[in-house]
């Protein structure tokens, strides 16, 4: 890149504003526009600043409207272009709070501090709520329908998932903006309770998924004299149905805990499948 020369941030980013007039300029329409733009939060994702570029991109219409002074706008843009990373479904909540602060012409270091303090916890909550709860549940239900050839499976999945998704993206933008800095306090109090509730639902469902969706049975019959015993139906099913899936899941869990990569486990699983069918175990 031709633009490698480093910019002296201190020269441009000022804590106070040249034009400190406080004025409510953002309309509901502006907020919705920025919520739409937040869908491109990860468009310029990279390992140096992660979502920093997309974050600034989605805030731009608001920043332009709030900071009519050129130097103030430059200071705000450069400040926001730094490292940023959070969960894409919850980002609009941070945006709402930050926009309320920008409009109120809070000091830059305060805005930056709030932004950085919020992105970590929200990233963790988002992972627990969406990647580990909403997605497995909606996709699991959709897949169980689709597996039996029902066309409603994929459609139901996409519709239910996006009702939650877009309700959050737009709802949280307005909620964050209205709550302003007060929201930060209410978030801190319930962070742990929300993530605990999500984990309870998630693990209950994972327990059921393990029992339902892993297909791992013995196909071997034991010959004891003149008696034939079907190992799976005659023995294991009598003790605990789906014992093998349960044991194998915990084996994988243990391997992951020991620092093995998921790819190793995929390789191990393929080897087990091939060896098992070579010796006619399964």
């Amino acid at each position: 890149m031709a633009s490698k020369e480093t910019i002296n941030r201190d020269e441009f980013i000022k804590n106070d504003y040249e034009d400190p007039t406080v004025e409510k300029v953002l309309t509901k329409k502006d907020l919705n526009k920025m919520a739409w733009r937040s869908l491109l939060l990860q468009a310029s994702f990279n390992y140096e600043r992660m979502q920093g570029g997309g974050w600034t991109y989605s805030l731009l219409p608001g920043l332009k409207k709030i900071h009519k002074n050129k130097n103030d706008l430059r200071s705000a843009m450069l400040d926001h272009l730094q490292f940023f990373n959070t969960h894409p479904f919850l980002v609009t909540f941070i945006q709402g709070v930050i926009l309320a602060m920008e409009e109120n012409k809070e000091r830059r270091d305060t805005i930056r501090g709030i932004k950085v303090a919020m992105m970590g916890p929200l990233g963790g909550i988002g992972d627990a709520l969406f990647w580990l709860t909403l997605l497995p549940i909606t996709a699991g239900i959709g897949a169980s329908l689709a597996a039996s050839g029902n066309i409603a499976g994929p459609l139901l999945f996409v519709i239910v998932f996006n009702i939650v998704h877009f309700a959050l993206v737009f709802g949280l933008m307005h909620y964050g903006y209205n709550a302003g800095t007060k929201a930060v306090l209410s978030l801190k109090e319930s962070t742990k309770k929300i993530s605990r509730a999500a984990s309870i639902v998630g693990l209950t469902v994972i327990g059921a998924l393990v029992a339902t969706y892993i297909n791992f049975k013995f196909g071997i019959k034991i010959h004891a004299g003149s008696i034939n015993v079907d190992l799976q139906k005659g023995v294991i099913d009598q003790i605990m149905p789906q014992l093998l899936p349960l044991l194998y899941t915990f084996f994988c869990y243990w391997m992951l805990k020991k620092g093995r990569s998921p790819l190793t486990l995929i390789g191990v699983t393929v080897v087990i499948g091939i060896l098992g069918s070579l010796f006619k175990l399964f």
Binding site: M1, T6, I7, L40, A43, S44, F45, Y47, E48, M50, G53, Y57, K64, F83, N85, G113, V116, M119, G120, P121, G124, G126, D127, A128, L132, L135, A139, G140, G142, A147, I151, G153, P154, F161, H165, K192, S195, R196, A197, A198, I200, V201, G202, T204, V205, I206, G207, L209, T212, Y248, F250, C252, Y253, P262, L265, I266, G273, S277, L278, F282
Partner: protein, 265 residues
């Protein structure tokens, strides 16, 4: 075949953008499997293959910045293979995963290459060029579209007819072995979820879910609703207060921007 390969390429491009932008999750195998099935004229096989691949990728979500094998290419190539080579979707898993791993390393490379673009954005900010920042942000999805288009067009256009020949030449135990492995594979995904979420005090909830499904054969939705009820009871009784070792990291409140908050994405 050219038209179908082109359509699948375009669909892969759209799904590839959705994986990082928009996030409507039309990129999940359950949906891409159905669409690929429609394009190839066998939506029923597409549905079933998509459902199988979806479960394999159940736990493979982007957690704490770690990138799992690429779900877009895995779902699309896996389904296309199952339909074109007339194979059981479970075998398609064995074909899809190595492909998806290779693609993901390319994506990692792309994220590395995109870092210098941020310095360009800095320059635009200094000059007050907001349109320039917009443009650089639009450039990312365009690159992704072209990348996914090529990656899925080529194997479908050139390898579709060969795929069946290759599979027929394979020994029986290998095919049935891959099928067995495909059936077990969801265990890896579930274990990945558990690695993040598991805590001794949550074990009873896992056990309840397992017992309801294994012994009582209850459907997943019923178990999920019961889980919500239990979680709501727990939430309102406030037992979350005594809970300290939560997995959710609460960031220290300070102004140090150099801290690594590798959550999200």
């Amino acid at each position: 075949m050219l038209i179908q390969a082109l359509l699948i390429g375009i669909w892969a491009g759209i799904a590839g953008i959705d994986l990082f932008n928009g996030l409507t999750h039309i990129h999940r195998p359950i949906f891409t499997g159905f669409v690929v099935g429609l394009i190839l004229g066998d939506w029923q096989t597409g549905l079933i293959a998509g459902a199988t691949l979806e479960l394999v990728w159940a736990g493979m979500v982007p957690l704490a910045g770690a990138q799992p094998p690429n779900v877009v290419i895995g779902g699309i190539i896996g389904t296309a293979f199952a339909i074109l080579a007339h194979q059981d979707p479970k075998i398609a898993v064995g074909v899809a995963v190595p492909f998806a791993v290779a693609v993901q390393s390319c994506i990692t490379l792309l994220f590395t290459i995109y870092s210098p673009v941020m310095h360009k954005m800095d320059n635009y900010a200094v000059n007050g060029n907001t349109k320039g920042i917009d443009r650089l942000n639009y450039l990312g999805p365009i690159i992704l579209f072209i990348f996914y288009f090529i990656i899925s067009f080529l194997p479908i256009y050139f390898g579709a007819d060969k795929a069946e020949v290759i599979v027929n030449a394979l020994p029986k135990w290998l095919i049935s072995g891959l099928s067995v492995a495909g059936g077990i594979m969801p265990a890896v995904g579930f274990a990945m979820l558990m690695k993040i979420m598991w805590k001794g005090s949550y074990a009873p909830f896992f056990a309840v879910g397992f017992i309801l499904a294994a012994y009582l054969k209850m459907p997943i939705l019923a178990v999920a609703i019961l889980g919500v009820a239990v979680a709501a009871y727990d939430f309102f009784m406030g037992s979350g207060k005594s809970d300290d070792g939560d997995k959710v990291k609460v960031a220290p409140v300070n102004d140090d921007l150099e801290e690594d908050y590798s959550n999200g994405i």
